[in-house]
């Protein structure tokens, strides 16, 4: 009897990687990809797993492992693949020895991302195979298939999921760790592994020669199948969109593409010949549709299927009506909900980042922000981030603002993990090219937003081993920054004083705002506080902190929710009436 488990898509990828003998795996945390590597690290020591400082490093680690013959894997979110694009493009030419799979998780609908890019384009750009599972069983199965394909055709392979594949759970038949990684050891062969022009030109030709072979294999692959039902309508689809199609067009014939690139032209042609009308249902870009039209086959797709935001059964029900020329069923609002207060994500109670935002609010400066929990500082009432672009840009963009002559002082803000990821190089640039920005590194000793993964400053690895703790102050000094200060952000007046000092001098500086994430520590910094209602002036100054434990509405006035309060005392420090104190004292 086969064992079955209820697994998320991410857990199933990890399971597949373990069973297929992956020996080395690396990645950088990013929603919705993070749990792949976390789940795979449960299989230590048979699988070596690491959080690398960034995705480019992670891919290069996996490439090194592949060249020894070991099977390897790298994981990241869609924007992480942009960071890793450099090694991807050339390794696609050098080619894998041990199977190498690049897991990339897209985020249609941008549930927790800064853009909505469709990473399938990278497969075409690099001319490497693309696998797309539509549920957890396929996530496990395709991982093994991708590793085999990688070895057979000596190419890296992209395994692309989306939020709904990564974070949906379904029942998976699992097996044992079988095809053990054949580590041959590195065999010296410069023309094969050294991408200098004379040899890279040969590699380039090899990539073109590999493409038709991959195309033929995709046409034969079990990952691609034709499901013939009513021949009146044939739908070409893949990824989780396949599942929605089965619910919304249960009678239609389907060409289900699990191996989408190189496009299986012969299979597509065969399917098109068997159906009367052809419809392409794909999430985000018209990647398949454009190619199918280029083959000279009549089809529809983007004309009825939305290309912005994520698909859903509800969206496809409306798309079906449009495709059939019927009016969409009217949306009947079941409950009066147009005026419901929004419930955006918010910095946790007693989050140390709140102290630095409060300090920043005392100055008229431009704050270039970055990616992490502290991105939430853009929301009211904090309102203290002015730009967010991508990992590391909080540091680098500050230099551009200043060199362009922006009259306000520029403060760049970056988290510890993001500093190690790609903020360090921006800081080196500021020191080297005589910048004057104030860079604040909000150091909570963990990669908090994605669920507390350790980083080079945490003193611990993904494998649970002790590690050296990288010093942000020493790195800043080594870059050439002379003014480096460390503050405890829970001490508001001291934090404001240090920030003021740094803003007043015309030189680059770094402020490390250091306090561990209370959520990661598992305990709040102090005992819950309470408001003495007799002393409270109702000035509502404390609400400027944007703390979820401070609750206020007209009916009940101002109060502290003691289930939420972590006793960080920031509100106590700013209360002009000294009305906030330890709960026992206030009663």
């Amino acid at each position: 009897m086969t064992a079955t488990e209820l697994l998320s898509g991410n857990e199933a990828i990890a399971r597949g990687a373990y069973e297929a003998g992956v020996k080395v795996a690396a990645g950088y945390p990013g929603t919705p990809s993070t749990e792949i590597l976390e789940a795979l690290s449960e299989f230590k020591p048979e699988v070596y797993c690491e959080w690398s400082p960034n995705e480019k490093v992670a891919l290069e680690v996996a490439i090194g492992a592949s060249l020894t013959g070991a099977r390897s894997m790298v994981t990241m979110k869609h924007v992480g693949l942009n960071v890793a694009a450099d090694p991807l493009m050339t390794f696609a030419c050098i080619g894998a020895v041990g199977g190498l799979v690049i897991c990339v998780a897209d985020d249609p609908g941008m549930h927790s991302s800064q853009n909505e890019q469709d990473s399938r384009h990278y497969a075409r750009l690099a001319r490497v195979p693309l696998f797309e599972p539509s549920d957890s069983q396929e996530a496990r199965d395709f991982t093994a298939l991708a590793l085999e394909t990688s070895e057979r055709f000596q190419t890296p392979v992209i395994l692309r999921t989306t939020t709904r594949v990564s974070h949906s759970r379904s029942i998976v038949a699992v097996g044992e760790r079988s095809q053990l990684s054949k580590t041959t050891g590195f065999v010296k062969d410069p023309p094969r592994y050294v991408a200098v022009p004379v040899w890279a030109r040969a590699m380039r030709r090899a990539v073109e020669e590999r493409l038709p072979k991959l195309r033929a294999a995709a046409c034969e692959s079990a990952a691609n199948r034709i499901e013939m039902r009513d021949p009146a309508l044939g739908i070409v689809t893949g990824s989780v969109a396949y599942q929605y199609v089965r619910d919304i067009w249960p009678e239609a014939s389907v060409l289900k593409l699990g191996w989408g690139y190189p496009f299986p032209d012969e299979l597509i042609g065969r399917f098109a010949a068997q159906v009367t009308r052809l419809l392409v249902v794909e999430e985000l870009d018209d990647f398949l549709e454009e190619h199918i039209k280029a083959l000279g086959l009549a089809c529809e797709g983007r004309s009825v299927i939305p290309g912005v935001g994520e698909l859903s059964p509800t969206a496809l029900r409306a798309a079906r009506a449009k495709y059939e020329g019927r009016p969409a069923a009217p949306v009947h609002l079941r409950a009066e909900n147009r005026d419901l207060p929004l419930r955006p994500p918010v910095l946790c109670p007693s989050c140390p980042h709140r102290g630095i935002f409060y300090a920043l609010a005392q100055f008229d400066v431009v704050v270039t922000g970055d990616i992490g929990c502290y991105s939430l500082g853009v929301q009211p009432p904090l309102n203290r981030i002015d730009t967010i672009l991508c990992m590391g840009a909080g540091v680098s963009m500050a230099q551009g603002f200043q060199k362009a002559g922006e009259t306000k002082r520029i403060v760049g803000m970056v988290g510890d993990s993001t500093f190690f990821h790609s903020g360090m190089t921006g800081l080196l640039n500021i020191a080297y090219n005589a910048g004057s920005a104030v860079i604040i590194v909000v150091d909570n000793r963990t990669t908090a937003m994605t669920g507390h993964q350790p980083n080079p400053g945490s003193g611990q690895t993904l494998m649970g081993e002790a590690a050296p703790t990288a010093s942000i102050e020493a790195i800043a000094s080594a870059c050439g920054i002379k003014r480096v200060r460390t503050v405890n952000p829970y001490e508001l007046q001291e934090t404001i004083r240090v920030l003021k000092e740094s803003l007043e001098v015309n030189e680059p500086s770094v402020i490390v705002s250091r306090a561990p994430c209370p959520l990661e520590q598992g305990q709040p910094p102090g005992e819950a506080l309470a408001i003495n209602q007799e002393q409270c002036l109702q000035c509502l100054e404390c609400l400027g902190l944007g703390c979820p434990a401070l609750e206020h509405d007209e009916a009940q006035g101002l109060r502290i929710n003691d289930l939420l309060c972590g006793g960080c005392r920031m509100c106590k420090q700013i209360c002009p009436a000294e009305a906030i104190s330890a709960k026992a004292a206030a009663q």
Partner: protein, 197 residues
């Protein structure tokens, strides 16, 4: 023999209320009863006090992990107005299970928005089949306020087709051994509301 339909459950609430555990228990109970099952939930930024939504579908065959608008047999909400936010998922004859608990969003505390005072009346108007309960109070009575998710789950079970044994097995699989009894009690308190809707 009639074919068992695909059953859809939508769970709403606020980050930290235990929605993901509740959805896992439904999924494991459906598995224990021999059904195919798919769940979906949003992680990431939703953990930071934002709205959280989880969906579970089970039946002989399940395709989409997402529930279509108007197709959920049961909508469970661990917070009062979150039931209104996600009301459109519920089928016309579906059962709504709503905790009376209020968690003020930061947008209310910071004065940008108002928490609707007539939420209760709106809930009664929107959901003809309704179990509106003080889940936190009931959980406190059985031993711990944090088990309100299991009280809601017990009430949800009255609108589904899974045998009591499957629920118990799923709860035992999903919570730490020392909390099993407490969670079973909370579930039973919710399940005892059967017939009051």
């Amino acid at each position: 023999m009639s074919v068992h339909p695909t059953l859809n459950v939508v769970l709403a609430g606020v980050g930290g209320q235990g929605i993901l555990l509740a959805s896992e228990i439904i999924a494991r109970a459906a598995m224990a009863a021999g059904f195919a099952v798919k769940t979906n939930e949003l992680h990431g930024m939703a953990q930071r006090g934002g709205s959280v939504l989880a969906q579970v579908r089970y039946g002989p065959v399940v395709h989409s992990p997402l529930v279509e608008d108007g197709a959920a047999q049961v909508l469970g909400s661990l917070e009062r107005i979150e039931s209104l936010r996600w009301a459109n998922y519920l089928a016309p004859d579906g059962l709504a299970v709503v905790s009376s608990q209020v968690v003020l969003p930061i947008t209310v505390s910071s004065g940008q928005a108002k928490y609707p005072e007539d939420a209760q009346a709106r809930i009664r108007a929107a959901f003809p089949r309704l179990l509106y309960l003080d889940a936190v109070g009931m959980a406190t009575e059985v031993g711990n306020a944090r088990c309100s998710n299991l009280v809601i789950l017990g009430a949800i079970s009255t609108g589904l087709t899974l045998p009591a044994q499957a629920w118990q097995e799923a709860i035992r699989q999903s919570v730490k051994p020392k909390f099993v009894d407490l969670n079973l009690r909370a579930f039973a308190a919710g399940a005892a509301l059967d017939g009051q809707k």
